[in-house]
């Protein structure tokens, strides 16, 4: 065992690179279709993730907050938490599953009770932020004895009552308020939208929703592409240069280029033979 530790320490970085490359290419094989290699890495990934869940549950929660609290600080009442936790396991018995419902009832109550705070934190501050002036007006300073013009008042640090609202600001505020009203009117369910006005605002609301969803789609693409660029950088630069030196990136690129060609050739061949390429092997 003594030879293993220094060997592991010295080869740690290259081992990490090789494991990373195998995992990355193993998962990218699903881009062709579901296959045995993908299935193997999927189950390995599931095992690792569940293992980390177990480790984090013990190291981060149970050890410091329950085990140490009871056996080191002597706070014995935390045992009730584990009793309630174990009550969940009675769900498997037909006769005693009301015990599990008692524990589930406790968790439900905690979740429901915290919703009041969640509602206030999520939405409440946004209401005053929606108070936008719709008509342009000059900046207004607190009444001051000398009736200073705006420029001088600002210099004299007299408190500002209302910031200046220019014409473009007013137009933006009108657009903001109209969009807010139309989209909210789309989400009323309990009265028939008979009147033409209401039907119009609801239809406008749905169009504005699609407008907003297109904007969200476009703006999210940047973040996803950044992650793909990082993965390709990992394969070509980190792995390529790390293991094969300066020509590494080019070599890795051509290997990946060949893999793409293979994938396309196999899908064209499958399509020519008329079998749907979406059948998992």
């Amino acid at each position: 065992m003594t030879g293993f530790s220094p060997w592991l320490a010295s080869h740690l970085d290259s081992l990490m690179l090789w494991i990373g490359v195998f995992c990355t290419l193993g998962f990218y094989s699903v881009l062709y279709r579901e296959n045995r290699v993908y299935r193997f890495f999927e189950h390995l990934y599931l095992g690792l993730a569940t293992g980390v869940l177990l480790v984090e549950a013990w190291n981060d929660v149970l050890l410091p907050k329950w085990f140490d609290a009871i056996f080191k600080q002597g706070e014995w009442w935390w045992i009730f938490a584990s009793i309630v936790g174990l009550m969940y396991y009675f769900i498997f018995s037909r006769k005693l599953n009301w015990v599990a419902r008692l524990a589930i009832g406790f968790s439900l109550g905690v979740t429901a009770g915290q919703e009041f705070q969640a509602f206030t934190n999520n939405v409440w501050p946004q209401i005053p932020k929606s108070f936008k002036p719709l008509v342009p007006h000059p900046a207004l300073y607190a009444p001051n004895p000398l009736h200073l013009p705006p420029k001088a008042a600002e210099a004299a640090h007299i408190p500002l009552l209302y910031p200046q609202v220019t014409v473009p600001d007013a137009i933006n505020n009108i657009v903001f308020t109209v969009v807010l009203l139309c989209v909210m009117s789309y989400f009323f369910f309990s009265f028939e939208q008979k009147s033409r006005a209401l039907k119009g605002t609801a239809a406008m609301g749905r169009w504005l929703l699609m407008f907003a969803f297109g904007a969200i789609f476009g703006s999210t693409i940047m973040a996803r592409l950044a992650l793909l660029i990082d993965r390709v950088n990992f394969l070509m630069t980190d792995f390529g240069s790390g293991v094969m030196g300066p020509p590494g990136p080019l070599i890795v690129f051509f290997i990946l280029f060949a893999l793409c060609g293979l994938m396309l050739w196999m899908s064209l061949r499958a399509r020519a033979r008329g079998e749907g390429t979406d059948e998992p092997s």
């Binding site: 993730a49 439900l108 209401i127 207004l140 209302y162 009203l181 909210m184 969803f213 998992p280």
Partner: protein
């Protein structure tokens, strides 16, 4: 905001009283709710799964901060409706679960759905699969499951993050009919691109009321509409006050805005 200020306290109590009152009134009077198109797509999807004799994958989402959550329970309510209406046609429903605490809750809900539909024998505990609580391991396992089971229909309800497109696109590649419904606004565009029908925003919470026609749920929807109306009214009053006070140079609007933001 660790504690509610005066106005937030009044508003929360008003909304709660309105919603609970409408729930009790709903018992006596029949209430109207407009149609939510997405929900008729659910019945089509169940029919198709039965014709093709392939299973349906019903997801209740990842939840927001784990454990038993409101948004996951709401998704489970819709999934139980799907299971109950599919029990008659012997279509198999697979329910992957994201959080360990939801395993018993989902098992109980699906078992009761089958017994309510009169087919308790159809319930198979192996179809309630806990996979993992890690976002992308869950997405990889569910898409592997969709590929291998060749799912005929996929139902994506509950809260999702970036992995929503992995689940929806895999379902699309397998040729499944897909209905999604999520309060995660940032994921709706991707679900629109990959699913057959998407239930947007608040329709998600109105869905179970519309599907079950339960008086309690219908009353709650009416109560919600009244509360939303009050919020809309306060925004309108705020906008009007800010505009008028801006012109007349008085303090009115700022005091009104301060009621919302003053510390408790």
């Amino acid at each position: 905001m660790e504690h509610a200020n005066t106005l937030a306290r009044c508003a929360l109590i008003t909304f709660s009283v309105v919603i609970v009152a409408m729930i009790f009134i709903a018992g006596k009077r029949d209430l109207y709710i407009r149609r939510i198109q997405g929900l008729t797509a659910i019945d089509e999807a169940i029919g198709r799964a039965t014709e093709m004799g392939r299973p349906m994958v019903c997801l209740t989402g990842l939840g927001i901060n784990g454990g038993i959550e409101i948004v996951v329970l709401q998704a489970l309510a819709i999934v139980t409706y799907i299971v109950r209406s599919s029990a008659k046609f012997a279509a198999r429903a697979i329910c992957p679960v994201y959080d360990p605490q939801m395993v018993p809750v989902t098992e109980e809900a699906v078992r009761d759905a089958y017994s309510l539909a009169g087919r308790p024998d159809r319930f198979n505990p192996n179809d309630i699969l806990f996979l993992t609580s890690r976002q992308f391991a869950f997405a990889a396992s569910v898409s592997g499951l969709i590929w291998r089971e060749k799912a005929a229909a996929c139902f994506l309800f509950g809260y999702y993050y970036a992995e929503s497109l992995i689940l929806a696109e895999t379902g699309q590649m397998v040729g499944a009919i897909q209905v999604a419904g999520t309060p995660a606004t940032t994921q709706i565009p991707f679900l629109i691109a990959a699913c057959d029908y998407v239930i947007i925003g608040d329709e998600f919470y109105a869905a179970s009321a519309y599907l079950s026609r339960e008086p309690t749920l219908l009353g709650s929807i009416v109560g919600q509409d009244i509360s939303k109306g009050l919020m809309l009214l306060s925004v309108l009053v705020g906008v009007l006050l800010t505009t008028v006070c801006g012109l007349l140079a008085t303090h009115g609007a700022q005091i009104f805005a301060l009621w919302f933001t003053q510390p408790p």
